[in-house]
Symmetry: C2
Subunit: 538 residues, 2 copies
C-alpha cells in the first residue's frame, strides 16, 4: 500500500448473482492493486445457484453441491457472514450484526454496491406465510425434499382415508419458471420412489399446479408454454388456470373459484417482494426497487450503485430490465467496470443486454427452451438445460460434483432418506453458573427470560457511581421484556447468583406469544411502568 | 398363504444395527414363506451407519451417504416411520403414533424383538442437556458441522478478543472411541479450512479433550491408547485426563478440577442411558437393560426377544456383552435364527462371540487398530479402518458413494458451506378458515393455542345428545391447555367461526414456558377447575 494513502473501500451487499459476480469482477480488475479494499456482506456464507434448487428439492443433487462458499469464490475479499442492520447513506457506512447479533459493527465505504435481491412476502394472503413452503434458498429445498418424503411415510401408515389423501396431494402455486420446474421435478421424484410405499395407491397421488393466468410459462412463446402444459398433464399433473390461491390452512388450500384442496404440502413460488431495507434509504424507488441510471449508479448519491433484482435499471426503451439471473450477471460486470472507471478515471458504460434465451426444465428428461430465436422442446431441450446450467455453475469442483450426482442418479434409485435436522422443542433452555451475565447492560435485547430454578440479581451500572442492585429475582419470575417491548438496549445487567436455569423466547416468539395473550399483556404493562421508571434513575 | 391360517406376526422395534439386521436376517430365512409377516418400527426412515458419523461431522462424507433407507434395505417388511408409544406385553401389542401423532395405531405381535438402543441423558450435569451437542444421529452430525463452520465465520468478524477466542475453542467430553474420533476429525477439518479465515490466528484455535480416566481409549491396550494420545497432542490437541465435566453454560465449561474453559462448542460423547420405555415393561432389568437368556429370549415372556445396546445378554463367564455394533450385528443373526427355530421347530442356539477387534480413527490419515491380536497404528491402521468400515456399510450404492466422497475429498478442498436449515422463530403460527377444526374431541392433545385474530367455538360431542356449544372465544383468549395440564385426550372440539390466526406451543414448550411463569400458572389453575368440570358434564 502506498504510504499515507487509505485504500478505497468498496462494500458489496448481497452474495447472489448480482453481488457475488460484481465482487468477482472487481477482484479481477483490481488484481495486485492494494489501493482498493473489497468487502462483501451476505447472511449465508455461500453463493447459491438458484436454477438448480428444484433438483435439490427433488433429491437428484445433494444440497451442498449447488452452494459455493463465498470465501473460496472470492479469495481476497473481506467476507462478513452477517445480516445488514442499516445503511446510512449520509455517513457513508453500513451497520451489520457481529458476534451472533450481540453487537453492531460499522463498515464505512467509499463505494456501496446494493444487490440485496428480493424477499418473499405472502402477508396479503391469509395463512400463506404460515402454511406454504418457499423455494428461495438451500434450506427451503432441503426442507421441501424431506417434507415430501415425510408425507409419503405418513401416508403409508395412515389408516384414515381422508388424511392419507391429504398426505399424497401436492399443490404448487405459480406457473412461472420456478413453479413449473418445481412441480416437474417433484412429480418425477415421487413417481420414482413410490414403489417403496406399498400402502400408497398410485391413483391417490395428486399434483396440482395453480396459475393465475391464461397459460403457464408466460415468459416464453405460447407454443412452448402449451407444449410444457401438455407434457406435465401427460404425467398426471393437474393444471388449474385463471385461478388464484386465496388462503391456506394447515389442511386446506382455498382457491378463488371457490374450490378447496385438502393437502399437507403447499409450495408457493409467488410473492417476491423488495427487501424492506430499501424503504429506509433516501433514494427514490420504483415498485420497491432502487432507481438507477443506465450506468447502474444511483442518481444524486455518488458512490452508491444498485443492480440485480433490487434495482430498477432502465432499458433503452424506457422500461425496466426483468429481475433475472442473466441480467444480474451481466449487470455485475458493468457495475464493477464502472466502479473501476470512477476510481481510475475512464468512461463509464451503460448497461445494454438483449438476453440470450429462456430455459425451463420439466423433469423426467424433458424441457422447453427458447435460445437465440430457436424453439426447442423435449429431451434435446432438457439436455441443453443440463449442459448450459452446468457450464454456468461457478467453480470446477461444483461442476464435477453436480455431474457426478447426475450420473449416480442415472445408475441408482432416488434417495428416500428423510433427514430430520429440525429442532422440535421450540423454547430455549439455558443454564448459568454464579457470576455469569445473562443479559448485559447496553447490549441489544433479543430474548425474554423466565427463571426456572436459581436466582439472579439485576444491577445497573453507571459511569458516575458504583453499580446499584435493583432487584433479586427467583424461580417463576421473569426479566428481559423491557428491551423487547420498548425496543431499547438492555437497561441493566442480570447476573446469576446461584446455578440458574432459565427458559427463554426470542423477540418474534415473545411478541407472538406474550402480546397476544390478554392476561399476560396486561401483567407486562403493569410491571413495565415500574421497571422503566427504575431504568431512568441514575 | 394357507387358507384359514393367520400369518405369524413378528414386530421389530428399532432400526439400528440390532433391529435392522434382525429384520434382514428374518427376510432371508423366510424368503417365499407367506406364513410370516415382518414389521419394523423406527423413528427415522433410515438405518444410520454410526461409525462414520464423525466423518460426516467433519464434512468429508455427505450426511445422506451413511443413511440407508430402511424400506430399501428391507423390501417386504412393513415399515413404520414412527415412535413407539407403549409396549403392552400382556395383550401382545405395541402402540405407535400415526398421522403426525394425531392418533395411535396398535400393532399386535406373536414375536416381539426389542432393539431400541440407548438415549443420551445428561440431566445429572447442570447445563449439559441445554448447551452440549451430541453425536448420535445424522441430524447431530449435520448440526455439529454447520455449527463449527458458523463459529469460524463469527470468529472471523468478531472484534472482541475474548469472544473471538471462545468461538475458536472446541471442547469434546469423553475419551472413548466416539470422543477421540470426533476430536480427531474436527481438528483436521478446522486445520484444512483455516486458510479461508484470514482474521483467525492459528494459535487462537484450541481443541480440548476432557476424559475422566487415566488414559484415553480405555477399550484398547495401553500402548495403542498412548500412541493415540501422542498423535493427537502432536497436532496441538490438549488432552485433560482424570477430570470430569461438572456443568456447562452457553459460554463456559466447568471442570471438576476447578478450571473453566470459555467456549461456544461443547460436544458430549458421554451420558448414554437406557431407553425410558424399557422401565415400563414388567421384565427385570439390569442397569436399565432387559435381561435375556443366552438365546436372546426374555425369560418368562414367551415370544419376546431383546438384543443390542438395550439388552443385557449373558456371556459364558456370567458378565454381560458390551454394547457394541459388532455384538449387535451378530446377535441379530442369532435372534432371527432362534425365532425361525421357534416357529418352524428346531434347536435354538445360544449367542457366543469373542469379538474381532477394535478400530479408532484419529483423523489426518492416522488410526489405531487391534485386530485378531495384532496391534496396528498410523497410516496402515487408518487405511484398514476405511477398508473395513466401507465393506461393513450396508448396500453397494452407499459403498460407492462414500468411496467417491473420500476420493473427491483427496482432490478438492474441504467444504465450508454453512447450511442453516434450522427454523429461527420458535412459536408456530397457524391460520384456520371458518368451519375447520383446530382441535378435535378425543384426539391426543399436543399443542396449546392463543387466538391472535378471529373467533372459535368450543363444542362438546356426545353419543347420546346433540353437540353442545360450551363457549365462544376471541382474540387474546386461549385453549388447549386442559389436555396438556391433565394429560387427557381433547375434551371438546374447537372450530373456527371466522378466518382465525393462532399462535401455538408444543407440549414441551408449553410446560417450559407456561408452568414456570408463576402468574401464568396461577391463572391456568383458576380456569382449569372450571373447564374440567364442564368436561365432565354429559
Amino acid at each position: 500500500m502506498a504510504v499515507g494513502k487509505t485504500p478505497a473501500r468498496i462494500v458489496v451487499l448481497g452474495g447472489g448473482f448480482g453481488g457475488a459476480f460484481t465482487a468477482r469482477r472487481l477482484l479481477q480488475r483490481f488484481r495486485g492493486d492494494d489501493s482498493v479494499e473489497i468487502s462483501l456482506v451476505n447472511r449465508e456464507n455461500y453463493f447459491v445457484f438458484q436454477p438448480m434448487l428444484p433438483e435439490v428439492a427433488a433429491g437428484s443433487i445433494e444440497p451442498s453441491q449447488i452452494a459455493n462458499p463465498l470465501r473460496r469464490m472470492l479469495p481476497g475479499v473481506n467476507f462478513y457472514a452477517s445480516e445488514v442492520e442499516s445503511i446510512d447513506i449520509e455517513r457513508r457506512r453500513v451497520q451489520i450484526y457481529a458476534g451472533e447479533g450481540r453487537h453492531l459493527r460499522a463498515l464505512p465505504y467509499d463505494h456501496l454496491v446494493v444487490s440485496l435481491g428480493t424477499i418473499v412476502d405472502l402477508s396479503s394472503l391469509p395463512g400463506l406465510s404460515e402454511h406454504s413452503l418457499a423455494l428461495k434458498n438451500i434450506g427451503d429445498a432441503f426442507y421441501l425434499r424431506n417434507h415430501v418424503i415425510g408425507c409419503l411415510e405418513q401416508a403409508d401408515i395412515e389408516t384414515e382415508e381422508e388424511h392419507r389423501r391429504a398426505f399424497t396431494t401436492f399443490v404448487i402455486v405459480g406457473g412461472g419458471f420456478s413453479g413449473v420446474e418445481t412441480i416437474g421435478e417433484l412429480q418425477e421424484m415421487v413417481e420414482l420412489v413410490l414403489p417403496h410405499y406399498r400402502n400408497i395407491r398410485r391413483e391417490d397421488v395428486r399434483f396440482v399446479l395453480i396459475h393465475s393466468q391464461e397459460r403457464i410459462l408466460p415468459e416464453v412463446v405460447p407454443g412452448l408454454g402449451e407444449y410444457a402444459a401438455a407434457e406435465l398433464r401427460s404425467r398426471g399433473i393437474e393444471i388449474r388456470l385463471n385461478v388464484k390461491c386465496k388462503a391456506a390452512t394447515g389442511e386446506h388450500v382455498f382457491l378463488s373459484d371457490g374450490t378447496t384442496i385438502a393437502t399437507r404440502t403447499l409450495v408457493s413460488t409467488v410473492g417476491n417482494a423488495p427487501n424492506p431495507l430499501l424503504k429506509t434509504l433516501p433514494c427514490p424507488l420504483a415498485r420497491g426497487r432502487i432507481i438507477t441510471d443506465a450506468m447502474l449508479a444511483v442518481p444524486g448519491y455518488a458512490g452508491v450503485w444498485a443492480l440485480g433484482d433490487c434495482a430498477a435499471v432502465p432499458m433503452p426503451d424506457g422500461t425496466m430490465y426483468a429481475p433475472t439471473a442473466q441480467n444480474a450477471i451481466r449487470q455485475a460486470t458493468t457495475c464493477a467496470d464502472n466502479i473501476v472507471a470512477t476510481l481510475r478515471g475512464g468512461n463509464r458504460k451503460p448497461f445494454v443486454f438483449g438476453g440470450l434465451g429462456k430455459l425451463a426444465s420439466l423433469g423426467a428428461r424433458s424441457a422447453v427452451a427458447e435460445i437465440l430465436g430457436l424453439r426447442i422442446k423435449g429431451f434435446l431441450a432438457w439436455w441443453m438445460w443440463r449442459t448450459i446450467y452446468l457450464m454456468k455453475l461457478p467453480g470446477l469442483e461444483r461442476q464435477i460434483r453436480v455431474a457426478l450426482d447426475w450420473t449416480l442418479d442415472l445408475i441408482f434409485q432416488r434417495n428416500i432418506v428423510q433427514l430430520k435436522v429440525f429442532r422440535t422443542e421450540k423454547v430455549d433452555r439455558a443454564h448459568f453458573e454464579p457470576g455469569e451475565a445473562i443479559v448485559t447492560q447496553g447490549e441489544l435485547g433479543n430474548r425474554f427470560y423466565i427463571i426456572e430454578r436459581g436466582s439472579v440479581e439485576v444491577v445497573r451500572h453507571s459511569p458516575e457511581s458504583a453499580p446499584m442492585r435493583l432487584a433479586t429475582l427467583g424461580a417463576g419470575e421473569y426479566f428481559g421484556e423491557v428491551a423487547l417491548l420498548r425496543d431499547l438496549a438492555r437497561t441493566a445487567t442480570v447476573r446469576a447468583l446461584a446455578p440458574t436455569d432459565v427458559v427463554s423466547l426470542g423477540r418474534g416468539d415473545f411478541a407472538a406469544f406474550a402480546q397476544n395473550l390478554t392476561m399476560l399483556k396486561a401483567s407486562f404493562e403493569e410491571t413495565l411502568g415500574q421497571r422503566l421508571s427504575e431504568a431512568e434513575v441514575r
